[in-house]
């Protein structure tokens, strides 16, 4: 079976970790710079009528005592990574979708924990009680996600295959992979639940909503969706430098970065492998955080090249930093490159191409590289001539 764990308003919960008392008060994530829409909201704020995505003015008019919490993307990323590692340590091979939603396959792990329900309970325990995680399991991803959404905090809900369609029917369309405009379009037509969408003729849905709509319709009708593609666990490799006082001077920041690069390269866990993807993170004055990721064109353990690649990012710091951290997100597989006296014809180009593709995959994740495969080049139907096949090898 496929299981999903959902933590609602994860970004807000992560931002509120240093101030947990705010969880019990009306609070919302403040809009990003230049935007006017608020983010996730706490339960008390929702009870007073504040909804995520509301305009700030409207939210404050609805609930004058609403407290605004600054967005903290680095805290979200860090908290989410900690949860994923705890799940992996407990034996779950996870496929994270976004902070707050993760899938895993229960086959194999059920025997370890003595059944499906104990395995889900163990997964919720690994997530931790403070996050109010909800678990759902079903034969399909959509049903597992829906079950996790319907479950109460700390509860695991299992939906058997024969009940899937009736279970999904009354649920809202927002569980389907559609763009916001499509939901609105469907709601204007009076289609509000998955069951109502499933009852429409497929050709009409495809005509009105295009290929994505057709796919959502198929999912609503109970057709099998994709399986879980677990991530490769990443090694925790980071170094932190805490400044005695806030630093905004570019030269000092670059020197701090140079120290971090040297420390990171000296770590034995690296086992000689050069970093492929690195991230620089800073805790800013006022409590906000900042983070930039760099994917190297060619993996390197040369301190000068790493400093040059990362140093440029430091100029984008929006405020003085109290803490600077350097993380390795991905290491190359090789430890060195043996030069050849005479390279075989085309080999250099092939090698560069492979490296380029690895770089793209490291930058955008699985599915970032695809191959065009001609299946019927002679066809008179243009979309039948070729398909795009992801290359994750």
């Amino acid at each position: 079976m496929i299981a999903a764990i959902v933590i609602q308003a994860f970004d807000l919960r992560a931002a509120l970790r240093p101030r947990p008392r705010l969880q019990a008060k009306p609070a919302a994530l403040a809009p990003l710079a230049g935007e006017t829409l608020i983010g996730s909201v706490t339960g008390p704020a929702a009870a007073l009528g504040v909804r995520p995505g509301m305009r700030l003015g409207e939210a404050l008019a609805t609930c004058p005592q609403l407290e605004l919490v600054e967005q903290d993307p680095a805290a979200v990323e860090q908290a989410w990574e900690e949860i994923l590692r705890r799940l992996e340590d407990a034996g779950f091979q996870v496929e994270p979708i976004e902070p707050g939603i993760v899938y895993f396959e229960t086959k194999g792990i059920e025997r370890l924990y003595g059944g499906l329900e104990p395995a889900l309970k163990r997964a919720l325990a690994a997530v931790g009680p403070t996050w109010d995680g909800r678990a759902g399991a079903a034969e399909r991803r959509l049903a597992a996600l829906a079950a996790a959404n319907v479950a109460r905090p700390g509860q695991a809900l299992i939906v058997s295959d024969d009940r899937t369609r009736s279970f999904l029917a009354p649920l809202p369309l927002q569980l389907l992979p559609l763009e916001r405009e499509r939901y609105e379009e469907l709601e204007e037509l009076g289609v509000r639940t998955i069951g109502q969408l499933a009852g429409l003729p497929g050709a009409a849905v495809a005509d009105r909503l295009g290929p994505d709509g057709r796919r959502a319709w198929s999912l609503a009708r109970g057709e099998r969706d994709s399986s879980v593609a677990p991530r490769r666990p990443v090694a925790a490799l980071h170094e932190t430098l805490e400044f005695p006082e806030a630093v905004g001077n570019g030269l000092t920041l670059r020197r701090g970065l140079a120290v971090l690069v040297d420390r990171l390269l000296a770590r034995p866990e690296r086992a000689g492998r050069p970093p492929r993807k690195v991230a620089v993170w800073a805790r800013l004055v006022g409590g906000a955080s900042w983070r930039r990721t760099v994917t190297l064109r060619e993996p390197t353990a040369d301190p000068a090249r790493l400093r040059a690649a990362l140093g440029a990012k430091l100029t984008e710091l929006p405020a003085p930093a109290l803490k600077l951290r350097l993380e390795v997100s991905s290491l190359a597989e090789h430890t060195g490159e043996q030069l050849e006296l005479v390279a075989a014809e085309g080999e250099v180009l092939q090698h560069r191409l492979r490296e380029g593709l690895r770089q793209v995959r490291a930058a955008v994740g699985a599915g970032g590289v695809s191959t065009v495969v001609e299946v019927a080049p002679w066809s008179r139907i243009p979309e039948a001539r070729a398909v795009l096949v992801p290359r994750d090898d």
Binding site: V6, Q8, I97, E98, G100, I101, Y103, R141, L142, L145, A148, N149, P172, Q174, L175, L176, P177, L178, E179, A203, A204, A206, D207, R208, G210, P211, D225, S226, S227, A229, G365, A366, G367, S370, V372, V373, R380, I381, P382, E383, A384, R385, A386, V387, L388, V389, P390, D392
Partner: protein, 91 residues
Amino acid sequence: MVAHTRSTRSSRTARRLNAPRPALVESHAGGLPRRVNRQDVSTVCEEWRVVDRWWTEEPIARRYFEVVLETGENTVVFHDDDAGAWFTQRA
């Protein structure tokens, strides 16, 4: 409610290339396109029909037009006779 994210589409699923996309087309009485995506059509270069898979449950009956818009852009649209709707596609 945590909405289904579009990124959950499996990264390993093969996808169709060049799938038709809905287009906003106004046509003359004879069916020739007059405006495509709010731009006037200056010339209809070519027209052809594709009728296929009539023996299946998803038959195809399309009337294709290669047009040049007033902006100079060359584009291909087709009218799907079954769905009664217009689409754009690289032919």
